[in-house]
Amino acid sequence: MTSQPAPTLILPPKGEPLICFQDIYKSYNHQSVLRGVNLEVRCGETLVILGRSGAGKSVLTSMLVGLETPDAGSITLAGVELTGLRTETDWDRLRLQMGYLFQGSALYDFMTVGENVAFPLVHHRRLTHDQIKQIVKEKLALVGLKDVESLEPSALSGGMQRRVALARTLALDPHIIIYDEPTAGLDPITSDGIAHLIQDLQKSLDVTSILVTHDLRTARFVGDRLALLYDGRIVFLGSTQELEDSDNPEVKSFLSPISLTESEGL
């Protein structure tokens, strides 16, 4: 019923590098998506990876959980070389300590909300039915939901689905949380709600977060540092203020897409 307990990641002290991407290359059908990405994520921070749609942001974070593999380069997580992991069992040991919030929530539509949140607990923790029920309630409360356990995911709004998916992501108390476009497809008010939730969780859970988005508003609000992925490379890494003060032409074009399209005659 339950798998082997996963070894705890030996996390570095806060502020020290936890995840290192080095010279990451990835292409699909001879089309380069990532062309030598170098990026460091520090323990305890919220790093936002910005970039246009199709820039390869999600591809990069998918590599952290083994959903994608780089064509070349190295990724280390707390000293573990991820490109050296060969089997799903090896990956699973790490995945148990990471949470991944998918863009479209990816809730299991053949389960209720409660069963969705309970899914990782049922498979990886030796707990009684009542204990699981209690944890599900707590995790749902953490994301601001109450009495929704028996509902079908399809009965919820987009924002609520995202919250349930986040509760499922938090179920195993991960050390690292990856948010893949958490506000995509949501209205501005709901997006702000999700952004506030991410910030609150960051304060209360003491985790390292990587957030992928093209939404500058959310990025400015939750990010300790922002990285801009442009043309397959990280062209900027710094604080929100540094991003806004940057003279980098790629940063400027990302911050003012209208002026770029005008100058390109689009």
Binding site: V65, Y100, G104, D109, F119
Partner: protein, 261 residues
Amino acid sequence: MQDRVLQLAGHHVVRFVDYMGQLTLFFVAAFTALFRPPWFFREVIAQMFHLGVKSLPLVAVAAFSVGLVLAMQTVGVLSWFGAANYIATIVGMSMVRELGPVLTALMVVGRAGSGISAELGSMRVTRQIDAMRVSAVNPMKYLVGTRLLACMLVLPLLTGVADILGILGGWVIGVTQVGLTSKYYYQLTLKYITLKDVVPGVLKTVVFGAIIGTVGCFHGYHTTHGTFGVGQSTKAAVVTGSLLVLVSDVFLTRISLLIWP
């Protein structure tokens, strides 16, 4: 022209061999995963209910109708030779040896095979399968292995029901048109049917179950191109599943006749 035809034929043969190779590897991966913990007994039972119990009415109606029609068509010919009584034996033998297993498999391909493919295809395009992997639960085991095993367990049971209902269909004609008594019909049915007729029929349904489960899961699991792809996968699962059931039946029947002549 001849070169072109040969080239085209060669291309299709290579594609077919490649496809069959992929199906076989997929089956081996899912089947061997079943022998390693964790075990998902509850999921297998749930799938047996979804794939088996819910297919029961369809299989029952189809088998009863086929038994009925088979008897209707045969009774006239048998009467020419004064052998109308043997309607019971012919219907019984046909259902147990051939029609029961194949009919059940084709019904299950249409209902459960398409369902499996559509379900897994939808899960693939909405990234639920990725979410499962990220939750450190192996989808090949949890989703594919359980459905494959359920198909292999459920097909023989459904075939048993189909055999009985097909024979009942023949009984209706035997009693109403030929004038046999129920007891005599029952005796004539059992008189010539032996284990040599029943066992091969049941065993080949296990293979049919493996085919339906593998093909349905394979196409669903490898769905691409969004909702359009789900439709394509479902269609491919039904068409390929039906064809493989019919083609494999030829070989399985030949093998069973060699083992139990």
